[in-house]
C-alpha cells in the first residue's frame, strides 16, 4: 500500500513550469512536442525525454544562461542559443546534438574542470554531482589547460554553519545558490563578487555563513550542483541509498520531505518538490533539526512509580499498561467515572489523536478529552465555525500568488511559518501591498525588495478595537462589497452588525487612545484593504491568545465578508497554525464537546453513528477542557490523566497553578519521547515515537492531509497508536487495528468531510485538502465558493471589551510572547539539535526607554514579575517593541515564561491570554525562587530517572 521507495535524485526539467492558455508545437531532434507558451527549449526537450547538458539551470529557479553548456541549434537561426533561456516557439525545429555542439560543450567542460579539484573518488558528492555527470555526458576525455591558474583550489572552507559546509575550491560559479537564496528563500544573503574565473560566492560582505543574514534554510545547498555547498550529514554518512516521502513534524505549514536513507538511518531530509505546501522549499527546522530523534535523552523503556518522589522503575510494556489501566479503573471506582480524562497533542498524527479521543469516550466513558489546540487556535475553530460554518482556513498557501493586498495580524511568518513566509515575500517582491497589525516590528515590516505599506503597532490586547475601527471606515466610507453581502450573507445579521460598527465609539479617532495607533493610519489601511484588489488575511496566535481571541477571529471573518474577500483565489481568512497537526487534532474530535468533524456531542444523529460503530452508549454532555481539568484536580474531583505527547507544564499558562494541579493527581500517564517537564510529575511513562518511526497523517493549516511514513522501527518497540490500543484493551474496551490505514478508514466512515480519504488516495494524489467526499473526490482547495458551508455568512457584533490584565503602578509594562525561527515551541526537539547554535536562551526584549528608566543594559539579568509569579531572564534592549511593551520567547523551561503568564483566557474557548501580561521588570543578581525550585526539582527528577545500582533491581 505504501508509496514505493524513491530515488534520492529528483528529475530536473531544467527550468520552471510556465502556465499559459496558449500552446506551441515544435520538433526537437525529430520528436514532435507541444508545450505551454513561454516554456524553455530545455524544458520542452526534457518533457519529451531528451536531456540537454546543463549546469546553471535547474527547474526550481529562473534560467540564468551563464554556463553555455546547454547550447542547441535551431533551423533557420544563426549561432547556438542557450536552450534554458530560449522559449519554445511554434514550428521551431531544434537539434540538441551535433558534432559542433559536442565540441563546444566539451570546450566548456574543459574550462570548468581545469579549475576544479580532481578528487571525485573521495568527494562527498561522488554520485550526486552534476559536474561529474556532465563531464560524462559531454564525453570529456582530456583537459588541455594544465597551466591555468587555479583560482579556487586553495580557497578556505567555511564550516561555521552547524549543518552545511561551503568549500569554494569546488565552486563553478553557476549562481544557482545566489538565485535560490533570492528567488526561493527571499533572504538575499549571498552575492557573487569578482569576474570570470576569479569570481566567488560569498555570504554578506565576505562573512562566514554564521555571521551573515543566512537563515540556514538549505535552499542554496539543494540548488548547488557540486560539492561546494554540502550537508555535514552527507560528509559524515555518505550518499543515501533510497528516499521515502514524508511530512515535517514541526510547524503547521506541513512541508513535504524526502527522508534520504541508508538502511534505517536518516542521512538527510530534503524538501520534496512534489509537496504542495512547500513545493521544494524548507526551513532550518524541518530541513536540518531532526537529530533529536536519535538523541541520547530519548526514553525507550516504559517506567512506573507510585509517587513522584520515588525512583522510576523500568518495567515491561505489559506491566506499564496494566498498571496504568488498573489505576484509572481504581480512580473511577473511587471518585466516579468523570474523575479521569485525556489530553491529545497536535504533535501526534490524526490516527493517534482519533484513537486517544475514542479511548476517552469509549473506555473511560466520559468526554474529558482536550487537546493542546485549546491553548493556541481554539478561538479559530469557534469564530470561523460561527460565521462561515467550518473551523478552518479558506485557501491554499499557493493562493497568495494571486493576492494584491496582504493583511497580517498577530503573526510572524518568517520565524514561525518560514516556508509560507518565503512565498509571501516573493509575492511582496512582485508588488503586493502589505498591512501589518502587530505590537512588534516584525521582520516583514521591511526586507530585501519589499516594505510594508502600514504597520499598525497597537497596544497588546486591543485587536478588537482595531478591527472594529477598520470595519467602521469601510462601512462609513461606502466601501462595502454590496453585491457579495446581499447575495452571500445573512442580511439581518449584516444590518445589526452595520448599525454597531458605524457607532462613533468604533471610529479610528475614538479608538486611537485605546490602541495607540494614529487614526489616519487606520483609515488608510482600511481603504487599502477594501479597495486594493484581492485582499487576503493571515493571522496567528497574536489574534487567538487573548481574552477576546474568539471575538477577534469573528471580527476578521466579518471584515473578509464585508469586502467580498471570500470564495476565490488570492483572498480569504487564513489562520497560520502553530504546530504540525493543530488542524488535524481539532478535526479528529479531540475537544470535549465535539466528535470528529466538529459535531457536537449532544447531536443525536452524530452520537448514534459513533455509538453504533463503537458498540456502546456515549455521553451527550461536554467534558472538561484542560483548564477545567486543572481546576477539578485542585478540588479533588479529577484524579487521573492520560497525556499523549503534550508538555502542559511548560506550555500552559501560570505554571505554578498547573504544577499544583498535576501534583494532586493520583495517576498521571505521560506518553512522550523525552522526560519532558510534565513527565517529571508522572506516575507512568510510556515511550513515544518520533515522526520518523510511525505511519499516519498530519493535516496542515490549509486543511491538507499528508502522509507521515515510517522510515525506522519505533525505538521503544511500540508505535504510539499501538500503545493507545493496548491501553484501551487493558481498560476492557478492545480495539482491533492492524495498521494506521484502518484507523483512517474508520475516520472516513464516520466523518462526512473525510469520507473520501484513504491511504490509497493519499498515495495517488500525494496529499488532499478536506472536505474530501463524493462531491469533492480529490478534495477542496478553496472553501466557500458560491456559498458558505453554513449557507449564508453570519455577521456577528464584536464589542471591544478591555482585558482585565491592565497595567498598574505595580505592573507598569505589558509582556507579550512569541517564537523564533530556530527553536520550536517548548523546544524539546530543537533544544536537542545544533539549532542551539542560533538561539541558546530566551531573552526579554525591552525598549531602550524602558531599559534606561530601570538602569538596565543589554545582557543584564532582569527579574520579570506579574501577579502570577516571577522569573529571571537576560535583557535584550531593542527598538522592535514600543515603549511600555516587553517581549520574550518560551523555548526553554528554565526561563519560566509561563510562570509569569496568567490564567486569564478567551471568553468562548478558554484559550489562555498569553499575549498580554502586566509585568514589572527590574535588574536582579540571582535566579527567581521559582527558578531555584525548578532547578532543584529537575535535578531530583533526573536522579530518579537514573538511579544508582542499588535501585536498579526491578520490583
Amino acid at each position: 500500500m505504501d508509496m514505493p521507495f524513491l530515488s534520492p535524485h529528483d528529475t530536473d526539467l531544467g527550468t520552471p513550469e510556465k502556465i499559459s492558455d496558449q500552446q506551441v508545437s515544435l520538433h526537437i531532434d525529430g520528436h514532435p512536442v507541444t508545450v505551454p507558451r513561454g516554456t524553455s527549449l530545455m524544458r520542452a526537450a526534457a518533457l519529451t525525454g531528451l536531456s540537454i547538458p546543463k549546469l546553471c539551470a535547474t527547474d526550481t529557479l529562473e534560467p540564468f544562461g551563464s554556463c553555455r553548456l546547454c547550447l542547441v541549434e535551431i533551423e533557420g537561426r544563426k549561432g547556438f542559443p542557450a536552450s534554458c533561456t530560449t522559449p519554445a516557439e511554434e514550428g521551431m525545429v531544434v537539434r540538441t546534438q551535433s558534432t559542433q555542439l559536442a565540441q563546444l560543450r566539451r570546450g566548456v567542460m574543459e574550462l570548468y574542470i581545469s579549475d576544479h579539484p580532481l578528487d571525485c573518488l573521495t568527494c562527498a558528492s561522488n554520485g550526486d554531482c552534476e559536474l561529474q555527470d556532465m563531464a560524462g555526458a559531454v564525453g570529456l576525455r582530456e583537459v588541455r589547460y594544465p597551466s591555468i591558474e587555479h583560482h579556487h583550489l586553495t580557497a578556505q572552507k567555511d564550516d561555521s554553519n552547524p549543518y552545511f559546509v561551503y568549500d569554494p575550491s569546488k565552486c563553478i560559479v553557476c549562481n544557482r545558490c545566489v538565485r535560490a537564496c533570492e528567488e526561493i528563500q527571499g533572504t538575499f544573503a549571498l552575492t557573487l563578487s569578482g569576474r570570470g574565473f576569479s569570481s566567488r560566492v560569498s555570504p554578506g560582505e565576505s562573512q562566514p555563513f554564521m555571521a551573515s543574514e543566512c537563515v540556514s534554510c538549505g535552499a542554496c545547498v539543494d540548488a548547488c550542483p557540486t560539492a561546494t555547498l554540502v550537508e555535514k550529514s552527507i560528509l559524515e554518512a555518505g550518499q543515501p541509498e533510497y528516499s521515502v516521502v514524508t511530512t515535517c513534524a514541526y510547524c503547521g505549514v506541513g512541508c513535504g520531505f524526502k527522508a534520504d536513507m541508508k538502511g534505517t538511518e536518516v542521512v538527510r531530509m530534503t524538501p520534496w518538490k512534489g509537496g504542495k505546501a512547500n513545493e521544494g522549499h524548507a526551513c532550518v527546522k524541518g530541513r536540518f533539526a531532526w537529530g533529536y530523534a536519535t538523541h541520547k535523552d530519548r526514553i525507550l523503556t516504559p517506567m512506573i512509580r507510585k509517587h513522584i518522589t520515588d525512583p522510576w522503575q523500568v518495567v515491561s510494556w505489559e506491566e506499564a499498561i496494566q498498571y496504568a489501566a488498573s489505576e484509572f479503573r481504581r480512580i473511577q471506582g473511587t471518585y466516579g467515572r468523570d474523575a479521569v480524562g485525556g489530553i491529545t497533542s497536535s504533535r501526534c498524527t490524526n490516527e493517534e489523536t482519533y484513537l486517544a479521543q475514542k479511548m476517552v469516550r469509549a473506555a473511560f466513558g466520559n468526554n474529558n478529552v482536550d487537546t493542546c489546540a485549546r491553548v493556541c487556535h481554539s478561538p479559530t475553530g469557534y469564530g470561523l465555525g460561527m460565521t462561515y460554518g467550518t473551523s478552518a482556513g479558506t485557501q491554499t498557501f499557493k493562493s497568495v500568488e494571486h493576492s494584491d493586498v496582504i493583511l497580517i495580524i498577530g503573526a510572524n511568518p518568517t520565524d514561525a511559518h518560514p516556508v509560507f513566509g518565503s512565498r509571501l515575500k516573493k509575492r511582496l517582491r512582485e508588488g503586493a501591498r502589505l498591512i501589518i497589525i502587530d505590537p512588534r516590528r516584525i521582520d516583514l515590516v521591511q526586507g530585501p525588495h519589499f516594505k510594508a505599506d502600514y504597520l499598525l503597532q497597537l497596544r497588546p490586547g486591543t485587536n478588537v478595537a482595531i478591527i472594529n475601527a477598520i470595519a467602521h471606515v469601510i462601512v462609513t466610507e461606502g466601501l462595502v462589497a454590496s453585491d457579495f453581502v446581499n447575495t452571500r450573507c445573512d442580511m439581518e445579521s449584516f444590518q445589526a452588525w452595520k448599525a454597531f460598527v458605524v457607532q462613533p465609539h468604533n471610529s479610528p479617532e475614538a479608538m486611537e487612545p485605546v490602541t495607540g495607533v494614529p487614526a489616519t493610519q487606520v483609515r488608510e489601511a482600511a481603504r487599502l484593504y477594501a479597495t486594493g484588489g484581492n485582499a487576503a488575511i493571515y493571522y496567528g496566535l497574536g489574534v487567538t491568545e487573548h481574552a477576546q481571541g474568539s471575538t477577534m477571529v469573528i471580527g476578521i471573518a466579518n471584515l473578509a465578508m464585508v469586502t467580498g474577500n471570500i470564495g476565490k483565489e488570492g483572498v480569504g481568512v487564513n489562520p497560520l497554525r502553530g504546530q504540525n497537526n493543530v488542524q488535524g487534532s481539532c478535526d479528529m474530535g479531540s475537544f470535549p464537546h465535539e466528535y470528529p468533524g466538529y459535531r457536537h456531542v449532544s447531536d443525536d444523529a452524530t452520537r448514534h453513528s459513533f455509538e453504533s460503530a463503537w458498540g456502546l452508549p456515549l455521553r451527550k454532555e461536554p467534558g472538561l477542557r484542560i483548564p477545567n481539568m486543572f481546576e477539578a484536580a485542585l478540588d479533588g474531583s479529577f484524579r487521573g490523566l492520560y497525556c499523549q505527547g503534550e508538555d502542559i507544564v511548560q506550555s500552559d499558562p501560570n505554571t505554578q497553578h498547573v504544577i499544583a494541579a498535576l501534583s494532586s493527581l493520583e495517576c498521571l500517564v505521560v506518553q512522550d519521547i523525552f522526560l519532558n517537564e510534565t513527565a517529571k510529575y508522572a506516575h507512568v511513562f510510556l515511550p513515544g515515537s518520533s515522526f520518523l518511526e510511525k505511519d499516519g497523517t498530519f493535516t496542515n493549516a490549509e486543511r491538507r492531509i499528508s502522509r507521515v511514513r515510517k522510515v525506522m522501527p519505533p525505538k521503544g518497540g511500540m508505535s504510539d497508536w499501538e500503545v493507545t490500543v493496548a491501553l484501551s484493551n487493558a481498560l476492557g474496551y478492545p480495539m482491533h487495528y492492524s495498521h494506521p490505514s484502518e484507523i483512517m478508514d474508520e475516520i472516513a466512515r464516520l466523518t462526512p468531510t473525510f469520507s473520501g480519504v484513504s491511504y490509497d488516495l493519499l498515495d495517488r494524489l500525494g496529499s488532499v485538502q478536506w472536505p474530501c467526499d463524493d462531491q469533492n473526490p480529490e478534495g477542496t482547495p478553496l472553501m466557500h465558493v458560491g456559498s458558505f458551508v453554513r449557507g449564508l455568512g453570519q455577521f456577528m457584533i464584536t464589542q471591544y471589551v478591555p482585558t482585565d490584565e491592565k497595567v498598574t503602578p505595580k505592573f507598569p509594562l505589558l509582556l507579550t510572547t512569541g517564537r523564533i525561527l530556530s527553536q520550536y515551541n517548548v523546544g524539546a526537539q530543537t533544544r536537542r539539535t545544533a539549532n542551539m547554535a542560533f538561539h541558546s536562551e530566551d531573552r526579554l526584549d525591552i525598549h531602550p526607554h524602558d531599559a534606561e528608566d530601570r538602569g538596565i543594559l543589554d545582557g543584564d539579568w532582569v527579574g520579570v514579575s506579574s501577579r502570577s509569579g516571577n522569573t529571571v531572564l537576560r535583557a535584550h534592549v531593542s527598538e522592535r517593541m514600543s515603549p511600555g511593551v516587553v517581549y520574550t520567547t518560551f523555548h526553554f523551561p528554565e526561563s519560566g515564561s509561563n510562570v509569569i503568564t496568567t490564567d486569564n483566557s478567551d471568553w468562548a474557548t478558554n484559550c489562555p491570554e498569553y499575549k498580554v501580561t502586566a509585568v514589572q521588570v527590574t535588574r536582579v543578581r540571582q535566579m527567581s525562587d521559582w527558578q531555584k525550585y525548578h532547578q532543584q526539582f529537575d535535578e531530583m527528577q533526573q536522579h530518579l530517572l537514573r538511579p544508582g545500582p542499588e535501585q536498579m533491581t526491578p520490583s
Binding site: D338, A496, R625, E631, A632, T798, W907, T909
Partner: protein, 77 residues
C-alpha cells in the same frame, strides 16, 4: 467543583460578548446555549448552586437571564 468566583467571571466574560447584541432576549438565550454547549455539567451545577446560595449580584443582567434558561433546560431534561 471550581471556585464559584471563577465560574462567575467566565460567565460574565461570555455575557460581555453577547450583551452587545440588539435583542437582549436572544442574547440571554445565546449565553445559555454557549454555556450548555461548552461547560461540563459539574461547572453548570456549581454556578447555579452558587447563585442559589449567594444571589446574582456579581453577574451581568444578561447572564442572570441566561441562568433562567439554563435552569429551565435542566428541569426539562
Amino acid at each position: 467543583m471550581m471556585s464559584a468566583q471563577h465560574l462567575a467571571k467566565m460567565a460574565n466574560d461570555i455575557g460581555a460578548f453577547f450583551e452587545a447584541m440588539p435583542n437582549q432576549d436572544q442574547a440571554a438565550r445565546d449565553v445559555a446555549e454557549h454555556i450548555s454547549k461548552f461547560w461540563e455539567p459539574r461547572m453548570v451545577h456549581a454556578l447555579l448552586q452558587d447563585v442559589e446560595d449567594h444571589g446574582t449580584d456579581e453577574l451581568k443582567p444578561v447572564v442572570r437571564n441566561a441562568l433562567f434558561h439554563l435552569q429551565g433546560e435542566l428541569q426539562s431534561n
